[in-house]
């Protein structure tokens, strides 16, 4: 070993796991040199635009495109009739359903894609779209999911008539998609019948939208001469797009080149495949020219995958001391006109069965009914690993409801029910094996940091003086990193992920991954993981993703899966490199491999510190002097099939003050403690936490996509849809504990979604806590001033003495 300071300098220089490395993505972005899909410009490129339905449910009597086609600069108007001969008028969804690419005789939601106009530029395309005459016969519509399975409810999907077996279960009504049950119903019912206390609450998680700042879009360029298709697309999962495009188009997959260039935020919205992508491809194939389609913000909010819309009924059974005996949840899931949820194939309600949360609940039962309504399709996870936010919300709300009923403090009831550190690995009543956690430690740290007892005293004093103050806690556990291929696949492809590394002769390296960054900083953090594993400074390791021709196959970035899956692949591929490097070092030093030990960036002969070979030396030798029998070169690839999910957790505390007279909610303090296992880069983690908490704030305080009885979407622009500015957004304090995942190669668990998942319940619980002294146990989100004021008014709290 070298002398300590020299050793320290080498470690610093390495920029490995744990260091506060500045982002490598930024240089281009801060100089306007990003390359997003809409920045792509090809010779002869045309622009596509949609004709969309003004009605939620209507029969299409006729489409007359003659006036549009007569407009100079218009090249084509595609309708379902044109796509039919290619069998592309419908496409499979990730959830095992089908979705109309262009409305086939009937529309099922407002803003549905009816025709695709292709023109010289976006202005002409928009003009022409207005000139397409569509005659509709309006049909009665289903807007309320609670009426969807009424005997006389209008049939939304005649294409499924007579199909009584769905992708996930038998269908019991023409608007029924699936029923998904988990847990032991009989044991749960029994526990409820014997319980000292039971509580029940109806809780709606409203329909909302991830709405990244960049909308969705694609550029398709078909090369007729070679029969090859190139597609640039706003995708979190470009490899999956390639496979689906090959299957749909009949093109050889090797002739489909998909590139996800820079992606301007995804949050789950860019996992699926949308009609616009398919139409751009078809138009390019049929016209022989590149076609660009970029949706506008209204189209994005109105037609591209929404999140949530879970109508939940939660019940807890407990003893008088607040020890939970059983959980029962029913969900009515509003999926819109097509089931386009982006979940692993076998999971129609995602991982909603994580809803026992951080608590040791011995019996539980969950039943989810998915129904069709005349609304936009979607149900993607908005910064959340497959319905985990809904799951976390129901349990974090219900434990508060129980605490209120029993008069037990909301922190105390959590401490009484937590799974204890010694219970890990912990098998939950609903079938998940939690890897590790130390929930009580996290919560205690937060309570102390915020002087929880002092806050409760202040709240009592304030209440006595007529002020409304709320303290919200959320002690959530997530399930991320999907996932083991035996239980997780997307359209049949297992959810592994991958890393491929090449170390060049002069000692720098390039690594490629099957995931796709949309702001998560992979270029920065993957290089840190590799630096620690292979002893090459992160500054000298290039990271690439998104080009399916060069990157190894992977399932993409969502569900906080990049670090748990591709991050693991990086560590393992790095270890393969290091194992070969050891052989080369032994050969160069003429010792046996066992005589060597690894020291930051080199192999050293044990006990002889000046006898060593750095990775730089070894990289050079790999190309000219390898031991006999060993292949030259220094490359490795790893496809990592995780043995289990990872289970990040956290403890959040939120303090709000509510204006009795206006209903305005002010967040005074937000303290977020996260445990994402091994921390790769604290700066990046904090950035993820700030961003996720702000989304959670937006969801709790204002985001919704409301529909009227006729299925009209009331507000699909940023005028109505709430995206907080810097002014409304609270300030956050962050903290952490570290409980590594025992099964992940570097112990990391993933962090991108924790703040959203845990944040929503913290905000909600704070607002509702402000009303707890007057007997309120639940108020549905969003807590816009007008909604909160209605509650204040109904309770008479807005009266001036």
């Amino acid at each position: 070993m070298g002398i300590p300071t020299e050793h320290y300098t080498r470690k610093e220089k390495l920029g490995g796991v744990g260091c506060e490395r500045r982002r490598k993505e930024d240089a281009r972005f801060i100089q306007g040199k990003g390359n997003y899909v809409d920045d792509i410009k090809l010779p002869g490129m045309l622009h596509g635009d949609f004709v969309r339905s003004p009605y939620a449910h209507a029969r299409i009597k006729s489409i007359d495109a003659s006036a549009a086609l007569a407009l100079p600069g218009v090249h084509a108007v595609l309708t379902a009739k044109d796509l039919k001969p290619l069998n592309l008028h419908w496409m499979p969804t990730l959830a095992g359903d089908v979705q109309a690419v262009l409305a086939d005789e009937k529309v099922g939601f407002q803003y549905q894609e009816v025709a695709f106009v292709v023109a010289d530029d976006r202005y002409i395309a928009a003009d022409a779209a207005d000139m397409v005459k569509v005659e509709y016969e309006v049909l009665p519509c289903v807007s309320d999911p609670h009426r969807a399975m009424d005997p006389d409810a209008p049939e939304i999907r005649p294409d499924l008539a007579g199909k009584m077996q769905g992708a996930h279960s038998a269908r019991k009504h023409h608007n029924h998609i699936f029923t998904w049950e988990v847990g032991d119903k009989a044991a749960t019912d029994l526990a409820f019948s014997m319980a000292e206390v039971t509580v029940k609450e109806k809780i709606w998680y409203p329909r909302n939208h991830g709405s990244p700042l960049e909308t969705c879009g694609a550029v398709a360029a078909f090369d007729k001469a070679n029969g090859e298709l190139k597609l640039w697309v706003t995708s979190q999962a470009p490899h999956v797009v390639r496979t689906v495009v090959a299957q749909l188009s009949g093109l050889d997959e090797a002739r489909v080149h998909v590139v996800a260039p820079d992606v301007g935020g995804g949050f789950g919205v860019k996992v699926g495949i949308y009609p616009g992508y398919v139409c751009a491809i078809v138009a390019s194939i049929s016209l022989g020219r590149p076609v660009k389609w970029i949706e506008d913000r209204v189209e994005h909010l109105a037609a591209t995958a929404f999140g949530r819309d879970y109508h939940m009924t939660g019940e807890l059974a407990a003893d008088k001391d607040g020890r939970i005996k059983a959980l029962r949840v029913h969900v009515l899931a509003d999926h819109g006109a097509f089931d386009s949820c982006a979940d692993p194939s076998k999971w129609p309600a995602g991982f909603f069965n994580i809803c026992t949360g951080s608590y040791d609940i011995k019996v539980a039962y969950v039943c989810v009914d998915g129904v069709y309504t005349n609304k936009a399709p979607g149900g993607v996870s908005y910064r959340c690993s497959f319905r985990v936010t809904e799951a976390s919300y129901i349990i974090e709300r219900m434990i508060d409801v129980l605490a209120q009923r029993l008069g037990i403090d909301k922190a105390e009831i959590r401490l009484r029910n937590f799974i204890k550190p010694e219970q890990f690995p912990y098998m939950s009543a609903l079938g998940w094996e939690y890897d590790s956690g130390n929930y009580a430690e996290g919560l205690r740290k937060v309570l102390e940091a915020c002087d929880y007892a002092g806050l409760r005293r202040e709240q009592a004093e304030k209440r006595a003086r007529g002020y409304l103050m709320g303290i919200g806690l959320s002690t959530f556990t997530e399930i991320v990193g999907a996932g083991p291929t035996k239980i997780c696949d997307i359209l049949g492809v297992g959810m592994f992920d991958s890393c491929e590394i090449r170390v060049h002769p002069t000692g720098s390296a390039i690594a490629r991954f099957g995931t796709k960054d949309q702001g998560q900083s992979h270029r920065t953090t993957y290089a840190q993981i590799l630096a620690t594993e292979i002893g090459i400074p992160s500054e000298n390791i290039m990271i690439e993703e998104g080009d399916t021709d060069t990157a190894p196959y992977g399932l993409g970035t969502y569900g906080s899966r990049s670090t748990p899956t591709a991050g693991a692949a990086a560590a393992r591929a790095g270890r393969k490199i290091r194992a070969k490097a050891r052989k080369i070092a032994a050969h160069l030093l003429e010792v046996s491999e066992d005589d060597l030990e690894w020291d930051v960036d080199r192999f050293v002969v044990k006990g002889v510190p000046d006898q060593m070979k750095t990775m730089k030396d070894i990289a050079w030798a790999a190309y000219n002097n390898v031991p006999p029998g060993l292949e030259p070169g220094l490359e490795a690839v790893d496809y990592y099939d995780p043995p289990n999910m990872t289970y990040p957790s956290g403890a959040y505390l939120c303090v709000v003050d509510i204006d009795r007279y206006t209903g305005e909610v002010k967040v005074r303090r937000f303290y977020a403690l996260d445990d994402c296992g091994t921390r790769i880069n604290p700066i990046i983690i904090d950035g993820q936490i700030h961003g996720g908490l702000t989304e959670a704030f937006a969801v709790a305080m204002g985001q919704e996509l409301p529909y009227d009885k006729e299925g009209n979407l009331l507000g699909a622009s940023l005028l109505d849809y709430f995206i907080p500015t810097a002014v409304e957004t609270p300030k956050y304090e962050t903290d952490f504990t570290v409980t590594p995942s025992p099964h992940h190669p570097i112990g990391a668990k993933g962090v991108g979604e924790s703040p959203h998942v845990g944040g929503v319940s913290a905000f909600s619980n704070a607002v509702i806590d402000a009303f707890s002294h007057v007997g309120v146990t639940h108020i549905d989100m969003p807590y816009k001033s007008c909604n909160v004021w209605k509650m204040l008014h109904a309770l008479g709290l807005d009266k001036r003495e």
Binding site: R22, R23, E25, D26, A27, R28, F29, I30, Q31, G32, K33, G34, Y36, D38, D39, K41, R122, Y123, S211, P212, L213, E214, T215, D262, V263, G264, G265, F267, D296, R297, Q518, G519, Q520, S521, I683, I684, D686, G687, I689, H690, G691, G692, L693, T694, E695, S717, L718, L719, I723, T725, A726, V727, T729, K731, Y732
Partner: protein, 161 residues
């Protein structure tokens, strides 16, 4: 509607002339005719600020300005922010303080910060938040953007003394 008009203006110190129909939006002229794709489109409706450019010494949303309104205008876009001596302090600030993630809002944020710090060279945190309120970010939660702007403010004021 289709009669083209010649419009002449200065972008990033360079004089340019374009022939455009009266309805063409400045953001499209910049992005599609002048290949200045750093200016982004997030909404088309003046809400997000991704298209913010500096226009005659004011921050404007280029999705809501007609190119014909730009006759003789002096426009600075994100591509014109760095000078011969390197990055502008607002660019440095965003990099140093982790003020960006996906980068889509960043050009608009930078252009707003650039103008805002000329309007108010020594802002308080609340003033930064208000001054930047026309620009939405979905990724960062603003906390580091505020720090980035403060970093730039310090750097700029150190420069001017």
């Amino acid at each position: 509607m289709n009669d083209k008009q010649e419009v002449t203006f200065t972008v990033n110190g360079e004089k340019v002339s374009v022939d455009v129909v009266p309805r063409e939006l400045l953001v499209h002229t910049l992005r599609e005719r002048l290949n200045l794709t750093g200016t982004h489109i997030g909404c088309d409706s003046s809400h997000c600020g991704a298209c913010t450019v500096d226009f005659n010494g004011r921050s404007v949303k280029a999705c809501t300005v007609l190119t014909v309104q730009a006759q003789d205008a002096h426009i600075v876009t994100v591509e014109g922010l760095a000078g011969p001596s390197g990055l502008h302090p607002v660019q440095e600030g965003f990099q140093q303080e982790h003020g960006l993630q996906c980068g889509f809002c960043t050009p608009g944020m930078l252009m707003r910060a650039y103008r805002f710090l000329q309007e108010n060279p020594n802002p308080t945190e609340d003033q930064v938040r208000t001054g930047m309120a026309g620009n939405l970010c979905r990724c960062t939660g603003y906390q580091n953007i505020v720090k980035a702007v403060q970093y730039a403010a310090n750097k700029l004021s150190a420069r001017s003394v």
